[in-house]
């Protein structure tokens, strides 16, 4: 029985943003259909995975998450290189956990020095993620922007409360910013407008809608991201036509469920459970429109990459 396949009428396209420099620069965005709706139009490239590296020795990580990085967790440069050389990372996300005022409260100069060492040692794009403390992020990220001038880093999270200072330094030293808002499509749009008013060009902005993993509110970011894509692709909302980044690994791996031992509470193998919670959370966010997913476990990444290949085969 012949029938006509109904098609969504798309009117917009996600802008392309180039991250990093040189041969290993990575372009994200460019899609003009809902995620993986390849029968309706184009998704010119697969979403990308960035691998996490921490600037200080992780505390209280589940065994399964530490295992792949044994021997390098106290050395961000070695850690980043391992991700690239051994696990094929196309992008690194350096989490500046040490700068958290509620933790080690490491100063801006010292933190920026570590970022520079990592940036100098690798050739893939480098995302640098602060602690969402406005005062501290302003000190740290503006310093990072300065000492890494010309590297085209991706600096985040940039929120309404600190967007002027960090945004200005991103313009001055030529970096990309992560516009970060708390699970709300209108706030996301507003921050993009504010950054635009400040003079940050669209090609230097990616959006962070604030994400969480399965069991911890994934449905909220899932729907906000779907609404962002609907507005961007079918309602000509130009201010939302930007790639989306999901910094989800740290959310998944701090949950109670990944720390339970084998077979506790009928939850099976602890390592596989952690990997699947991360990979399935990432998959869910990819279906909602994620362009970059920040991930931790190499086996979770492998599963997600296979799914990306299968969905676009």
């Amino acid at each position: 029985m012949a029938f006509e396949i109904p098609k969504t009428s798309y009117t917009g396209k996600i802008k392309e943003v180039v991250l990093g420099k040189g041969d290993k620069a990575v372009t994200v965005g460019g899609e003009s259909v809902y995620p993986f709706y390849l029968f309706e139009g184009e998704m010119p490239r697969l979403p990308k995975i960035a691998m996490e590296v921490y600037d200080s020795e992780p505390e209280e990580w589940a065994e399964a998450a530490l295992e792949p990085f044994a021997g390098v967790t106290n050395d961000p440069v070695a850690w980043a290189k391992k991700c690239i050389d051994e696990y094929g990372a196309e992008m690194i996300c350096l989490q500046l956990a040490s700068t958290d005022p509620n933790s080690l409260d490491r100063g801006a100069d010292e933190a920026a020095e570590v970022v520079k060492e990592v940036a100098d040692a690798i050739d893939v794009p480098l995302i640098v993620w602060g602690t969402a403390n406005h005062d501290k992020d302003i000190q740290v990220l503006t310093k990072v922007a300065e000492v890494c001038q010309g590297k085209n880093l991706i600096l985040g999270p940039v929120e309404e409360g600190d967007h002027k200072r960090i945004g200005a330094s991103a313009i001055g030293y030529n970096h990309t910013v992560v516009a970060s808002t708390p699970i709300d499509i209108n706030l996301a749009k507003q921050l993009n407008i504010l950054l635009g008013n400040l003079g940050v060009p669209d090609k230097q902005i990616i959006m962070d809608p604030t994400v969480s993993g399965i069991g911890y509110g994934v449905e909220y970011c899932y729907s906000v991201m779907e609404r962002m894509r609907m507005a961007a692709l079918t309602q000509q909302d130009e201010k939302l036509q930007l790639p989306i980044i999901c910094n989800v690994a740290k959310e998944v791996w701090k949950s109670k469920e990944v720390h339970l031992p084998d077979n506790e509470a009928n939850m099976g193998d602890a390592k596989k459970r952690g990997i699947l919670l991360e990979a399935m959370s990432a998959m869910t966010l990819l279906l909602a429109g994620g362009d970059i997913i920040v991930m931790r476990h190499p086996e979770a990444i492998k599963l997600v990459k296979e799914m990306l290949a299968d969905l676009t085969a």
């Binding site: 109904p6 899932y222 009928n266 939850m267 990997i275 699947l276 399935m280 299968d310």
Partner: protein, 446 residues
């Protein structure tokens, strides 16, 4: 095009008899228009009105029930492409596969896991619903179906393309109204007769969408409407596309022949159990009516069940947890006492952080109708004159020696009022972000 509530109302008897379960014909009409009621609930509607209303009264994806009594599971009934447009209605039923070529150990293990792998979360029970029984040999199949009905409380899917085999299995479980799968272009009449004689739902196994539409059309012409569709795709990309196209064709184009829930088989798309779980996670979000898994493992079934609960949560009704005292890590009489709201996410995050801090404590969860701290505070549901009486009545005073109450940083404005409401208590303002709770608790002293 669907009719509006008012258009439907004009066709109803307008007697407000209440026999349909709602007090007025207008209310019933509104429910019909919203896809929340079935026309068959009205015993008095005229035949011609029925015909006119048939289109408007049925949801664009038919809802199909498999099983009876407590084991009955409803799939389909969906009305939107995106959950934020309204909500997703019936979560995809999860099934474990057993077959007549498996060893007894393999079958028993699966039935055992079907029974055991169940979870509690925010007062909801998360569990798989169905056992799918596959076979090619009538005698063995009947024996296996008999075993499954005896050893499991789940609904049943009978899988065979041989009508004689299906009939043999059906004899063992017809009273359970299993899904008969699958009717193909070659066996359609025979399987349709079985479904009709036993009033069971029927699953079509097509080789593509066009064929699926042809098969369902033949079935509806034969008077069978409880249909489940397998469009036959067995690659991830094609299966994903078919799910989207089926949903879109039924909703946007009102194409009735595809307006049925679907059944998917991730185990036929990979041999790797972890990959199978990944594929299933795609179908949970994107439109499957039923997902048959080759086996169950705690490490993958738990995330799938929770993902399913998350995606199928009504966006307009936040999940809430029960009011009360939650003891975390065996707290003693000198352990800290924290109070927060009963939004499920607030509860999960705050209790997770307390647990992560390794400082045992009492978490008082107050009923704020499922609102988060900031929203509840702004709405006047998490304020001193409500928190005070709640703490007093909670019997926390019997559990701790000290009188120090930690309130969320975002409710700091209530601390003055609370000191008046709870004169014996010292009110301490905790962090605004849950992530800062561990550091706070580590330095907390009674």
């Amino acid at each position: 095009m669907a009719l509006t509530g008012i258009q439907i109302f004009k066709l109803l008897p307008k007697t407000n008899c209440g026999d349909c379960g709602v007090p007025t014909c207008l209310a019933f009409a509104m429910n019909l228009a919203a896809g929340k009621a079935e026309l068959s609930a009205c015993p008095h509607v005229s035949e011609e009105a029925k015909e006119q209303l048939a289109e408007a009264s049925a949801p664009p994806i038919r809802s199909v029930t498999i099983g009876t009594g407590d084991a009955a599971v409803k799939v389909g009934g969906e009305t939107v492409m995106f959950r934020h447009e309204k909500r997703f209605e019936n979560p995809p039923a999860l099934a474990v596969l057993v077959s007549d070529t498996m060893s007894d150990t393999d079958v028993d293990g699966r039935l055992q896991r079907f029974k055991e792998l169940r979870y509690e979360r925010v007062g909801l029970s998360l569990r798989p619903e169905l056992v799918a029984v596959q076979g090619d040999d009538a005698t063995k199949f009947a024996a296996l179906v008999g075993k499954v009905t005896k050893n499991s409380d789940g609904g049943i899917v009978l899988i065979s393309t041989n009508p004689d085999v299906l009939a043999a299995g059906l004899k063992e479980c017809a009273d359970k109204k299993p899904l008969l799968y699958g009717a193909t272009k070659d066996n359609l009449d025979a399987v349709a007769n079985l479904a009709k004689e036993n009033s069971c739902p029927i699953g079509v196994k097509a080789s593509n969408l066009e064929e699926a539409a042809e098969l369902t059309t033949k079935l509806t012409e034969a008077g069978l409407n409880d249909i489940v569709i397998d469009p036959g795709s067995r690659t991830v990309r094609q299966a994903f596309e078919d799910e989207v196209i089926i949903r879109n064709a039924a909703l946007a184009a009102k194409f009735r022949p595809l307006g049925f829930p679907t059944i998917t088989f991730p185990g036929e798309m990979t041999d790797n159990p972890m990959k199978e779980a990944m594929i299933a996670s795609v179908f949970v979000a994107k439109y499957a009516g039923m997902i048959v898994l080759s086996d169950f493992y705690g490490e993958s079934l738990f995330p799938l069940l929770v993902e399913r609960m998350n995606i199928y949560t009504d966006p307009q009704r936040p999940l809430a947890t029960e009011q009360g005292i939650y003891e975390i890590g065996n707290p003693g009489d000198n352990a800290p006492v924290l109070v927060t709201t009963n939004f499920a996410l607030t509860y999960f995050i705050v209790s997770g952080e307390i647990e992560g801090s390794k400082v045992p404590g009492y978490l008082l969860i107050m009923d704020t109708e499922g609102l988060s701290v900031m929203t509840a505070w702004a709405a006047g549901k998490f304020v001193a004159d409500l928190i005070g009486p709640f703490v007093k009545k909670s019997s926390i005073e019997d559990k701790v020696k000290h009188r120090k109450l930690v309130i969320p940083g975002y409710a700091a404005a209530e601390s003055g009022g609370l000191e008046e409401e709870l004169p014996d208590w010292e009110i301490m303002v905790g962090p605004r972000e849950a992530a800062h709770i561990p550091a706070y608790l580590k330095s907390w002293r009674p």
